[in-house]
Symmetry: C2
Subunit: 217 residues, 2 copies
Amino acid sequence: MAEPETEHPTGQASEPGPRRGRPGHDQETVLRRAVDLFNRQGYDATSMGDLARELGFTKSAIYHHVPSKAHLLAEALDEALDELTAVVEEAVTHADGLSAEERLRHTVRRSVEVLVAHQPAVTLLLRVRGNSDVELAAQRRRRELDARLADLVRAAVAEGSLRDDVDPDVVSRLLFGMVNSLVEWYRPGGSVDAAVLSDAVATIAFDGLTRPAPHQS
Amino acid sequence: MAEPETEHPTGQASEPGPRRGRPGHDQETVLRRAVDLFNRQGYDATSMGDLARELGFTKSAIYHHVPSKAHLLAEALDEALDELTAVVEEAVTHADGLSAEERLRHTVRRSVEVLVAHQPAVTLLLRVRGNSDVELAAQRRRRELDARLADLVRAAVAEGSLRDDVDPDVVSRLLFGMVNSLVEWYRPGGSVDAAVLSDAVATIAFDGLTRPAPHQS
């Protein structure tokens, strides 16, 4: 499921071309490198010529490998959205005996894991502007997810676990805003471990930054 | 100081041209509408021709009003960076008798205010990719700000106000990641008031989402 980004460093475009390894590997490599390029210079600003150069294809050969820019964008956005949808589904289907707060905590932790494992695709998703049908469709799916996350926050407020002095919609925006901000700085293989990060996000969000009193539960 | 974005709705490009009002208004209007266009379709994907069309100038007339795209970008990024720098300076200069935690809380609240008042410029800043000298210079200034914010977080941990079970650098990233995420959804004049929002962010960040115990201080 997780394709670590470290395999495809984003700094330089001087790696060898994508023709290597077992069948099926090519398309995956093409997608990874296209997503990195889109994130680096912006999807709208990237031409098929730029993609060809990045991937080591001639401008005519690229069309044998990539039907269109939008095709690659759709694949990457689906990857991110499918993973995030699975997280939200888990919160509903594995809910036996769990409070809404526990389900929300689980959702926050799993979202961090997805962001870490699929960082390039999620980064692309978060930057989508709605300038094409593919982007508009992705924005619709993202809004549905946001609505379901907001429902979960409301349920946790309603059961009395979460504070009710802040508008649940604002809570939901800020909570997942903090989660999503990871894509801007987290680097796989860097100094911060994914499990540590997932703990840190949940701790800060639910318990706050203020030092707990000595005997607080 | 604050130029509310509501004056220039971003949805449509069909408003009248910028030639109206008192002297000096034109340049300001040109800047606001250019920033909105950059945010809408991406700076790299925006040409001088696109700008001319958006502003109602001919392709040759635009150069009388706008020396270059980079000039407008630099002005907008400086606006955002100057405001955010002023917030960080306040935390240092108005520090008499205040704990590091109090200064950090103040900084978080003031940052929210700046993001609300200068949302389009800050949005542009947060999306900068480093593809030009102007962008690289802005990224350098932003890194300096981030380093000073991280220092403030470390000071609050060192004085014993903030929890020390999460790496202060991670705390700083997540805290200001939450603050910065506002630009993605907050709309001036919408249902959420700026002062309410500033309270909500500080409350969630410092006290956490979990409902406080009845007699907790």
